[in-house]
């Protein structure tokens, strides 16, 4: 046997002894039955749902003023909040209005026009909400309706805005006011 072959066998024997030393404890532990949870048969699916809602509001209302000495009601407006998902069944969504300025902007600068507070609305009949009559303000959002706690939708198609009489008006044409619908979930 050549010297090189002897060296190779010794090396091989050491390797075999090494594997045996590692394998022995493993074969001893193999006698213990360990139940492992199966990860192949069931999977937990978790959907995290945010508080949310879908809101539909009108883009505007028009007052067809034929008599500046009398109140003018606009056509009934519709507001719908649906797909309401909130964190608790006692939490409520609220919708309110605030004017963007203290008065309308007349088409002829400086001519008399209406104040924001000349616009009011009725306590409309709402489905699954409590409606509140109110008057437009430029300094605060005034509630139009609060959806009933725990509902998935609330709506009205009978919201009527009314413009007060104003005999000081001297110019026909456009008188416009920007008004913001506020959908609030500011409660804690």
């Amino acid at each position: 046997m050549a010297t090189g072959e002897v060296t190779m066998k010794r090396l091989l024997r050491r390797v075999v002894i090494g594997v045996g030393a590692i394998a022995l404890p493993a074969s001893a532990h193999a006698q213990i039955v360990v139940v492992l949870p199966s990860t192949s048969l069931s999977t937990t699916l978790t959907a995290t749902v945010s508080e949310q809602a879908r809101v539909a509001v009108p883009a505007g209302v028009l007052f067809s003023v034929g008599d500046i000495g009398a109140s003018t009601a606009a056509s009934a407006a519709s507001v719908t909040i649906d797909q309401i998902v909130l964190a608790t069944t006692t939490k409520q969504l609220r919708i309110s209005l605030q004017a963007g300025g203290a008065s309308f902007t007349p088409s002829i600068g400086g001519s008399p026009t209406w104040a924001a507070s000349d616009v009011s609305w009725n306590a409309a009949t709402w489905t699954q909400a409590t409606g509140s009559a109110g008057t437009l303000s430029a300094s605060s959002y005034n509630a139009i309706a609060t959806c009933t706690a725990g509902v998935s939708s609330c709506s009205t198609s009978q919201l009527i805005f009314t413009l007060a009489p104003n005999t000081a008006i001297t110019n026909a044409g456009n008188h416009t006011l920007s008004v913001t619908w506020k959908i609030e979930s500011i409660g804690s």
Binding site: F63, T90, S137, S140, W181
Partner: protein
């Protein structure tokens, strides 16, 4: 087709064209938005990142929105909400918050995602701080309409509450009463942080048995600054459930502590026509 019929159809079409334009308002806005308030228990120097989503209906026009932070509070009866620039309130967190993007155009059917960061200053007094993330629709001059009218825009506000350190969560019940056909609980925040408030009002007969009726008070918020008092109310049950008479009325309120707070008094229930809810 007989000539006389053709003339009548033509006359009808001309009449339709000559009729005054109807005052139908322009189409409105339909959108979905996340509406969850955010409540954080923070330490000085902490930084938090959250996101807000808004999507508009596929049938809408391209619409611009602008995000910003502001202070807010409500009137005692909850019917009015006030929004003001950051720093108006001492307990404001609006100056700690930044949004990205600040302004965005949302295409029909698309979703706008606003990521916002709240960086609590390293030097800040222990207490509760709050503000609102407000996303406003930006006016589009092309949708302005002629005539006398109002042009509506939409705005969504969600509350942000940051408790820094060991806050004092405390409130007192100052009154329990029946107004017309509503049960009303008056409360005052005597702590240093906003508290969520909900609960129930029980109407007990004199024999002390189980409540004849229980009214659930919807959730509201009681702030420690500007308007520290609040009225929390709910409609009374129908008269056949709660007939007119004298009751021991007990308010049991939950402000997020490990115990309820309560108050009771004897009240004569006499129904009147309601002026509507307080709308909190």
């Amino acid at each position: 087709m007989p000539i006389s019929l053709s003339i009548r159809i033509l006359a009808g079409l001309l009449a339709m064209l000559a009729a005054p334009q109807s005052v139908a308002p322009p189409a409105g806005l339909t959108f979905n938005a996340t509406l969850g308030s955010i409540r954080l228990q923070a330490r000085p120097g902490d930084v938090y990142t959250r996101q807000f989503q808004l999507s508009i209906d596929a049938r809408q026009h391209r619409t611009h929105f602008k995000a910003h932070f502001e202070d807010w509070w409500r009137s005692e009866n909850g019917r009015e909400s006030f929004y003001a620039p950051p720093g108006t309130l001492h307990h404001s967190c609006a100056a700690w918050a930044t949004a990205n993007p600040v302004e965005s155009a949302v295409e029909p059917g698309d979703t706008m995602v606003v990521r916002f960061t709240i960086a609590v200053p390293r030097e800040v007094v222990t207490g509760g701080y709050w503000c609102a993330l407000t996303v406003d629709q930006v006016a589009d001059p092309e949708t302005a309409h002629a005539g006398v009218g109002v042009q509506f825009l939409a705005s969504i506000s969600t509350g942000i509450f940051v408790d820094v350190g060991a806050v004092t969560r405390a409130a007192d019940i100052t009154d329990v009463r029946v107004d017309a056909d509503r049960a009303v609980v008056s409360m005052r925040n005597v702590g240093d942080t906003p508290v969520p408030v909900d609960g129930r009002v029980e109407f007990l007969t004199r024999d002390g048995a189980a409540p004849a009726a229980t009214v659930t008070i919807p959730r509201g918020t009681l702030l420690p600054e500007r308007v520290t008092t609040g009225l929390f109310d709910a409609p009374l049950p129908a008269a056949d459930v709660l007939p007119d008479g004298r009751y021991l009325v007990r308010a049991v309120m939950d402000i997020g502590l490990d115990h309820y707070i309560g108050a009771e008094r004897e009240i004569a229930v006499t129904r009147e026509v309601s002026s509507g809810g307080l709308g909190r």
